[in-house]
Symmetry: C2
Subunit: 327 residues, 2 copies
């Protein structure tokens, strides 16, 4: 079974400000080289004080439209696939529609599966082309605001970024295989406890600011992911009689250097076919996979008919894998 | 075109505590009858202090499973279609998977279009049956925590509630028509500014608690909705050569008494075919439409082949309409 889908244009956007690991060392009174050694990151980008999420996402949308040779008038549906809300209400896609600065109403909604949101949205979009011709899938993740710098090991790997992808149906190529799983035994391993209806400034008596920081139990997360991800990949591929030898390119979620290294080692992957932009981009949450896909589409020698495996983990814990045959 | 979909079981859940408008009058030092007169509500339900959203949603899921004569093992995919997050990270469907208390991993993700989330999820689910046999669509809205009682006109219409719906493919019946629009010119008319990455306790210097209250500009919202909703309904029906005479039942979002009255008046609707549970349930956000659908499915004389119009507005501003032919 194949759900036809082509990418007409993919845009990415990085904040203006690059923050080098050496700068973090200085700020945190650490020995030079410490942050890079711990995180594997040379630099990451964060929104500057005079820069907004609106600008960040608008820039990505502009590139996607230019690459697709389309205008806002050609978009029929918006899926916002960002990990966190802009505000609790309304939904993120309404904000995105506002950014498009058009009076024309459009279908729009959010899909959320934390770091796998865009991957899940890509799969859902492939099933919506009987209703919409061109679908805009966006992500705009600005985790900086939720980082607790007393823990460099966690805070040091994240980065802000936005992406926009315009997809439509296709005569050839598309999704050969998609598989998603949620293992909620790891629900507590990655979380921001605040920002929802469970804990609010009205019902929480402690320091609410702390509750709005991202928490990660890296050890438990790594252990669970290592157990379930390789098996999940194998099982997913086998369901369509595929093996890793059939895959031409791998676009993994840029979760962390250790997660990427572990995946390469355990699956005996050829590094030259795997997109690894972690060192200079960090973990950009839901924007990570489309950001790496941008590198594949526009900087690598990708050919029609090749099979691309998009794969990763998310908070939840979620697992996701899509095999997309290049149109 | 018809996307086959049947509802195997629908469960609803109300908190234990009913709060009567007369009680609010006393609490707010208002003349007896004031709150009911302003809101049109006799009572609404709110989570009690010893009651959790976990319990509320679990109860609805239990009823859905019982009605569908299925067990948790029969569910292949969870779509959480709640308006607000439980916590900022992970996504709500991971929390739902945790509530199911199963070791078996499952596909799961969130869909958000505020008050129209379940309607949008119902439409999306109808396109996923090549991947999943039985899909559980849930909503669990607890707006009480975000209500500002200094404004009875807004706070007084909302209520807590949860629903769970198990859907699968069908040999007959299904979605004949679905249409969704976002008009972001009304983005600011219904909002909770806090709870997202735009405003956090780290970047906001004012009283963050106030930012986590629901704000509604009722007049502007009513004006915009009155302008666009009747036209949207007409246009949607006309796209499939349907008129209101073809519709057997109407299940509207229970937005407010005035919005329901206006819809009945402007569209010259037959009240006896319209499900109105507002007076005793209030606006239960995304849970409102499925809550009203529960009344139709299990308390009315609904027949195979009849056409049900599910319709409403959401923050955003969103519009949504689905015509579902009863299997």
């Amino acid at each position: 079974m194949l759900n036809p889908i082509q990418i007409l244009g993919l845009g990415k956007s990085l904040p203006k400000k690059a923050v080098y690991s050496s700068q973090i060392d200085k700020l945190q009174n650490l020995k030079d080289g410490t942050t890079q050694k711990i995180t594997g990151l040379e630099k990451r980008y964060f929104l500057d004080e005079d820069e907004t999420a609106d600008e960040l996402l608008s820039k990505a949308i502009k590139e996607a439209l230019t690459r697709a040779k389309l205008s806002v008038d050609d978009i029929d549906c918006i899926i916002n696939a960002t990990t966190t809300m802009q505000q609790a209400i309304p939904f993120n896609a309404a904000w995105t529609h506002k950014l498009l600065n058009t009076k024309r109403p459009m279908a729009s909604f959010d899909i959320n599966m934390t770091c796998l949101s865009v991957l899940r949205a890509f799969d859902i979009a492939s099933r919506l082309f009987d209703s919409y011709k061109n679908i805009l899938i966006v992500s705009c993740d600005t985790p900086f605001i939720a980082l607790d710098w007393s823990n460099i090991r966690t805070a040091g790997i994240f980065a802000d970024g936005a992406t926009a992808m315009i997809v439509s149906s296709s005569n050839k190529g598309g999704i050969i295989l998609s598989n998603f799983e949620t293992h909620s035994s790891g629900y507590e391993y990655c979380q921001i406890k605040g920002g929802g209806s469970r804990f609010t400034p009205s019902n929480y008596n402690g320091d609410f600011k702390k509750l709005c920081y991202f928490e990660m139990d890296g050890k438990k997360l790594y252990k669970l992911s290592s157990q379930i991800l390789p098996l999940f990949i194998e099982k997913s591929l086998a369901s369509k009689n595929l093996s890793l030898d059939d895959i031409d390119w791998i676009v993994p979620h840029q979760a962390s250097q250790s997660s990427l290294d572990h995946m390469i080692k355990i699956l005996k992957l050829d590094k030259s076919n795997l997109i690894d932009i972690f060192k200079t981009h960090g973990n950009q949450v839901a924007s990570s996979i489309p950001m790496a896909l941008h590198t594949l589409l526009y900087e690598k020698d990708i050919k029609s008919g090749q099979k691309v495996m998009l794969v990763g983990t998310s908070a939840g814990i979620g697992l996701g894998l899509v095999i997309w045959q290049v149109p």
